[in-house]
């Protein structure tokens, strides 16, 4: 029995876990659901030892434990199968399986590859994967890699005497339907030795597999339901705190877009990234690129921003064909980029609010290279008012603002500089609900101002709710284009169907 009591975890500006109680018994499969930012991944990190909780206790079979790192958690039988796969792709399968535990195969300082291969074969048999352990991992499919990850975690069976707890973080997100069923069958069979914590945002899958489901919202567990008593709508209501309605994505604000084409792709291809992509982005339009990781969404954004030169096809920005691709091209053409890694590429932590806001357009606030700092501050103050940025003053270090306010600073940077094409890469990632809604409001406002937006959304619901047009990509190729007219939006199923 693994138990968490009153676990608390705080980060600067975020109370990520609030007195969370959680337990999992022998051979049990427990589901964990919640919206992005509800605290699922923080909870998982506490469980497998990546974060130390600020308060509360962790016990295994009644004994209190406190992990300093994931390795210690592993020594207590807790293993993690990562969503963003943790395998090192240029190593062989067996090297990955025993990474960090090669010592058992070492004799006289030399690794005995034969015994390692045999041991790896035995691990792979547990997950019913019949491949050569000497295969380079990069040559495996995603589904196979997922199973190798599981096999890697299952080496704990031999190393640990007690029970195992295995965390599965969104294990099905890249799998096809049949592969999901295989995985589920496997997990059920393995419950004689291990219990599982299954995290997914696909409610039907969670209910199908789990004995009990924990529902999280805003860092707290708001409900625990058994499978028999579970009801998808009720859980969803608890998760979001209200019915999921059209209001959330501001669909009633969505207006038809204009005629002027801002970005035009004509049969554009970039070898290894995307192939034969064509679309037009108009003024006031939100165009969303949908697909799994590696489907080419981000690569297309990079080309629009002027970073990666395509091999063939024509890219036209505001009527001008783009011939030169370099890091500053996008900014010069009036394109603003709101990156996924907000703290790395979005804001400069260590610089204050006005310094961040003028970073892309210092020339507008300088004469002969000398800055007109009072003008910078005036501009910053007006955008702080306009976007409701919560900061004590313009001198506040942006690194100390909350995620939502950092995002607003990034948007203010581009908007104040007059960018009329905005690329949003996972703009709501890691934000709490209120901050997400602020971002949705800003998206609609920008459309009203005639800005064209290309969006890579954090969730499919977000993609559907916000967009005028949705392009579904798979393996770098465009599968389907959907119109997102309010009242006639495509369903989740429509999109997923073309994604995998």
């Amino acid at each position: 029995m693994y138990e968490l009591k009153a676990i608390d975890k705080k980060f600067p500006g975020v109370h990520a876990l609030k007195a969370v109680d959680f337990k999992i018994g022998r051979g049990e499969i427990v589901g964990l659901v919640g919206e992005n930012g509800a605290g699922k991944s923080t909870l998982m990190k506490v469980i497998y030892g990546a974060y130390k909780p600020d308060g509360g206790t962790v016990t295994i079979d009644g004994t209190a434990v406190r992990f300093q790192n994931p390795r210690q958690a592993m020594d207590h039988g807790i293993g993690m199968v990562f969503q963003e796969q943790s395998l090192i792709t240029n190593l062989t399968v067996m090297e990955n399986i025993f990474l960090g535990f090669e010592q058992q195969f070492v004799k006289f300082g030399v690794i005995n590859w034969k015994t390692m291969a045999a041991a790896a074969k035995a691990q792979l048999a547990k997950v019913k994967l019949d491949i050569d352990p000497a295969t380079i991992t990069a040559n495996l499919s995603f589904a196979q890699r997922q199973l190798v990850e599981l096999a890697k975690v299952l080496t704990l069976e031999e190393r640990i005497d007690g029970d195992l707890v295995i965390l599965l973080d969104e294990p099905t997100s890249v799998l096809a339907k049949e592969e999901v069923e295989l995985l589920f069958k496997l997990v059920r069979e393995l419950t004689n030795r291990a219990s599982f914590i299954f995290v997914s945002h696909r409610m039907d899958e969670v209910l199908e597999l789990s004995d009990r489901v924990y529902v999280m919202k805003d860092g707290a567990v708001v409900d625990v339901v058994t499978r028999d008593a579970a009801n998808i709508d009720a859980i969803q209501h608890k998760m979001v705190g209200r019915d999921i309605d059209k209001e959330y994505y501001r669909e009633q604000w969505q207006k038809p877009y204009g005629d002027e084409v801002l970005v035009s792709f004509g049969n554009v291809s970039l070898n290894g990234r995307y192939k034969d992509i064509s679309f037009d982005l108009h003024r006031g339009e939100v165009l969303c690129l949908v697909g799994t990781e590696g489907s080419g969404r981000e690569a297309i954004l990079r080309t629009v921003f002027g970073l990666d030169k395509p091999d063939t096809g024509t890219v036209t920005i505001k009527g001008e064909p783009v011939t030169r691709f370099h890091a500053r091209g996008g900014v010069e053409r009036g394109i603003g980029y709101v990156p996924r890694e907000r703290k790395v590429e979005g804001i400069v932590a260590g610089m204050n609010v006005y310094e961040n806001m003028t970073l892309s357009q210092m020339g507008n606030y300088a004469s002969g290279g000398v800055l007109r700092i009072s003008e910078e501050k005036d501009m910053a103050r007006s955008w702080i008012d306009r976007l409701g940025i919560k900061t004590p003053n313009v001198y506040k270090d942006c690194g100390g603002l909350s995620g939502g306010n950092q995002q607003k600073v990034v948007l203010a940077k581009w908007r104040s500089g007059g960018s009329d094409i905005i690329l949003l890469d996972h703009p709501t990632r890691g934000l709490d609900i209120g901050a997400k809604e602020d971002v949705y409001d800003m998206v609609r406002e920008m459309c009203d101002d005639g800005v064209g937006i290309i969006l890579v959304a954090d969730t499919l619901e977000e993609a559907i709710g916000l967009s005028h047009s949705i392009l579904v990509l798979k393996d770098g190729e465009m599968q389907k284009r959907f119109d997102g007219t309010p009242g006639d939006k495509p369903s989740l199923y429509d999109l997923v169907h073309h994604m995998i």
Binding site: A327, R328, V344, E345, I347, V348, G350, G369, V370, L371
Partner: protein, 313 residues
Amino acid sequence: MDFERIKPHLPWITLLALVALVGISDTNFLRPQNLISMAADIVPLFIMAMGMTFVIYIGGIDLSAQSMANMTTVIATVALASFGIGAALICIAIGAIMGAISGFVTTKLLVPSFVSTLAIGGVVFSIGQWLSGQRALYMDATLRDNAFGWMVGNTAGIPHEIFIGTVLVLAGWFLQTRTTFGRALKAIGAGEPAAAASGINVTRIKIMAFALSGGLAAIAGLLFAVKLSGGSPTIANGFLLPAIVAVLVGGTPLTGGVGGVINTMIGTLIVAVIRSSMLYFEIDATRQQMVFGIILIVAIAATIDRSKLRVVK
């Protein structure tokens, strides 16, 4: 009160504490005359350290500064005869060009700055050796006084080096806080990916920072040459370590993004006080580099921003 909040104030607190400490053990140290001459002596080191500040501020390092100053003493001495005060311009231009080459090698050929500047340092050191024929050269006294006498005089009891240092620190501070170049340096030091994504020409700004460092190292060398009335390719040896120490104890960490020229001024004064205190405490001069080596390690360990480091190689 936690350490992170005191950290920015540590340099000047350290400086005052050191001055008080040495002053208590020997009150002669606190005589204005002594303090002034100590400050004047340290100006060449300060100029070199200030140049290096710009490079460290963007997360790089300039190991060529000492060799650059060495070479400049030779060039200044050789050029004085034909160009008079124009020799100064030649020195600064050569320093800036060699610095820009370091910057080019770092940003375009992607050679880490500690290697590129070490290599360029080797090149300029050799140029100095070759130009001087490996001998100490001397300036003609009249020529020197006509062209550069103003650099080393005294006005109202204050050595002119102090004025030079003051003008340069004010100029450096203006550059750092008031210009687009300074702002871009800060952005690159604190968050290069975001600076690049905002359309800042990172390569150009970095090359300019290295050129600035080279140019200032040349000014330091020029001041040496004038003070000592001659040049030699080894005259500034032993200055590199204290210059780096001055930048780091001043509060510009190797990871960049915070600190700046005022910090380096305080850091240089700390170095000056430590140096003179070694005289007062009768520590042998041969142990100076040892002391600075240890201080450097402590200063880096205490100030480096570990959140910016993933792997140290």
